[in-house]
């Protein structure tokens, strides 16, 4: 039964781009959740998202979970003295009144142990856990391998 639900979640084709639809929990708004298509399931997938904290208290993203991958983790790409490395991040700060982006070249979710290849045009759920606001499940759009972000009319506003 669980695998049927997973199959449905992974093959669900979005009628309109989910990435452009905001999700909310407490004072937080979560939008532009996207991932890149993968070739097969042997390489890790990626998870990018934007989180806006409209409240007056700092929060932090402390974990991600998804049925699409056995081992999703938060990472940060760090370039120090011309060397890029990708340390594990225990949490991503979401300060009061600010928008934080998990975006190419910075914080990102690394989806290790993909259950199946991520296909362009598909989508899958990711549950984000915040220190204060708690949990929220968002729908992640799978874009092309060459994508640099979702194409939303209001993106960047």
């Amino acid at each position: 039964m669980k695998s049927v639900a997973l199959f449905a979640a992974l093959t669900l084709t979005a009628p309109a781009a989910f990435a452009c639809e905001p999700f909310a929990v407490g004072d937080l708004t979560i939008e532009h959740a996207w991932s890149r298509a993968t070739i097969g399931a042997d390489r890790p997938g990626v998870f990018y998202v934007e989180i806006t904290n409209a409240g007056s208290a700092d929060d932090a993203l402390v974990g991600i979970a998804t049925p699409a991958a056995g081992m999703p983790m938060l990472h940060e790409t760090v370039v120090t003295d011309g060397i890029a490395s990708m340390p594990h991040s225990m949490s991503v700060p979401v300060p009061a009144g600010q928008t934080v982006a998990l975006a190419p070249g910075g914080y990102h979710g690394m989806l290790m142990g993909l259950v199946t290849a991520l296909k362009e045009g598909g989508s899958f759920p990711v549950t984000l856990t915040f220190q204060r606001a708690g949990e929220v499940t968002v729908t992640v759009d799978v874009l092309s391998m060459r994508a640099e972000g979702p194409d939303c009319a209001h993106a960047g506003q």
Binding site: I39, D42, V46, H75, V79, G82, I83, G105, M110, M145
Partner: protein
């Protein structure tokens, strides 16, 4: 007018600077100071997925856009290859004057996972090269770039790679021309290439 000790010292320093500059301009060391270094020509000898061995001579007459990376990398490498793909698309008819190369710094695993399919997913023009450990180290040393395997129990297969994430531009004669630091927008790379082609 009385000069303070500091003013005297400053005038003395200015005098020395003038003399030194004059010596640079007219002195016997003028030539070596102004002649540029010998061209820096990084090299490599690496096979593609099909086993065909490539070296810079195979691309003589073309500009090379070289990136060192690994296909298990979820963030930096796809982002850079996407930009390279965009640059090649935007070059239009000049695209055949630029050869993009992806050199694996994790060659054993990349060969196992399939390098050609990976690079082709970004752009069919990109050639992926993955040698053995010695060939890979020699290529990286030649380009003067860093890569290292870092054990990480939480990473796939228990390790990840740190590496120099820049793009390197090699001229049609094999001379190192410049690097584009990680995150340089495709439009900037395109403008630079167009000014050279």
């Amino acid at each position: 007018m009385r000069l303070t000790r500091l003013q005297k010292a400053l005038w003395a320093a200015a005098g020395i600077a003038v003399l030194a500059y004059g010596a640079l301009l007219w002195g016997p060391y003028r030539a070596p100071a102004l002649v540029s270094e010998a061209p820096f020509r990084p090299t490599f000898s690496l096979p593609d997925d099909a086993g065909r061995l490539y070296s810079p001579a195979d691309f003589a007459g073309k500009h090379l856009l070289v990136f060192f990376g690994f296909t298990n990398c979820p963030d930096v490498c796809p982002t850079t290859l996407s930009e390279v793909a965009q640059v090649i698309d935007d070059l239009g008819p000049d695209a055949d004057k630029v050869q993009p190369l992806f050199i694996s710094i994790d060659p054993e695993r990349d060969r196992r996972l399939g390098l050609a399919a990976f690079t082709a997913a970004f752009h069919p023009a990109i050639i992926g090269l993955a040698g053995d450990a010695d060939q890979t180290r020699a290529a990286a040393d030649s380009f003067r770039i860093h890569f290292a395997r870092e054990d990480d129990a939480a990473a796939p297969d228990g390790y990840t790679m740190s590496h120099s994430p820049a793009l390197y531009l090699i001229g049609p004669e094999g001379d190192w021309l410049r690097q584009f630091t990680y995150g340089t927008p495709a439009s900037e790379i395109l403008a630079d290439l167009k000014s050279r082609l």
